[in-house]
Symmetry: C2
Subunit: 230 residues, 2 copies
Amino acid sequence: MAARSYGQYCGVTTAVELIGERWSLLIVRDLLVGPRRYTDLKQGLPRIPTNILSTRLKELQEGGVVRRVPLLNCGLVYELTPYGRSFEPVMLALGRWGFQAMGDPEDGDVVTPDSLTMALRTAFQAEDATDADYELHVGDVALRASVRDGELRVAQLAPPAPPVGGRMPEGEADAVIVAGPGIRRLIGGEITPAEALAQDVVAVVRGDASWLDSFAATFHIARMTVGSTT
Amino acid sequence: MAARSYGQYCGVTTAVELIGERWSLLIVRDLLVGPRRYTDLKQGLPRIPTNILSTRLKELQEGGVVRRVPLLNCGLVYELTPYGRSFEPVMLALGRWGFQAMGDPEDGDVVTPDSLTMALRTAFQAEDATDADYELHVGDVALRASVRDGELRVAQLAPPAPPVGGRMPEGEADAVIVAGPGIRRLIGGEITPAEALAQDVVAVVRGDASWLDSFAATFHIARMTVGSTT
DNA sequence: CCGGATCCGAATCGATACTG
DNA sequence: CAGTATCGATTCGGATCCGG
């Protein structure tokens, strides 16, 4: 038996042996956004040691979760297998659960493009969604979230050097929302859009401020009390 | 910042910091079945070192996932907080995902009462369920699974020393099913109930063999190809 | 027996440096 | 760009011990 096996014949145990090592789940989270090269992953996971990153990628490949795809011209990317992609609902449920326990950011905590993208997917409520285009800025991460017919698409925008090529998703967004980490309290329903504006948690720097209402209806995670430890 | 923090402000990261340490998720899995004493957990997780068990229990308490409840007469139990209990859908989704990747058991792998109980919950399909009482034996684990009105209840039976008190859930089960680890292939839809019987993967030692059809309809995990690593 | 605490060798992780 | 090599700091695993 493998040394690190839990010694049980069980689906949960098998899952944990596949994606339960330190950093593995965050690699899968970023790959759920799209294929990534080694360097992209390293950038999106600023504190991961490079030897751990390569070890995890090898393990995930052996487990059939990730595969390595050479690019035509140069370089290569890692992408999820179909089985790896089928982890998405689990990841979203996990993100929703963890969201409830999020406090304020610690010193040094960062928000990455991929983590914010997944956070939006996590909070997306298809039933309550109305068609709209939002441009969302959190820290130096800029995203374009487009809602059409109950479907969400998120594109990552490069903050420096305004794109001169055709990278910008067709035209202007309905609203440009600039937020700090306190946006968590809006998504979590702890404060209303009006309160969020009043407390400078978010600002609508372009478009009508009422877009924040539809934003809050579209992206929402039900509040739940974290049980006391008494 | 905490040394073992991932340094990201994100729901997934928060979740992993709460339940991502080695063994933590398996402790939560067992506690989802019901409150357990320290010794119960140690028995249900045969390979966990005792210092790790107590460390994890402390961490889970600090995270608001678990709480420690003194018993009236003697001893104490650990139980999930409401927040910890809200992890159940994530656990079931994770178990379903891991189930797809389960192979044959390794040497030394065991099936515990709690893991089998959660596996039944994982595989339970309320829409396809018909009322029935099954007694299921896998290895030396014996369970009584009762389906009523699309709801599942699972009770654990003590294999030695037939219960003389009133512990036995009222009367006989409709069917007593004895299975080996190959029951995974029945639940996973790789083989039909008829094939499972023919291959001695399972046996119906009491009640009509046709109960196995309703069992297979009630407990099912859709098959999915684990992507190749090429 | 219950509920741990302590000790120690082995394995893993984290940080940095280095390479094809 | 895509890793490997190295090495000290941590953590894990196994065993033992201890107070109630």
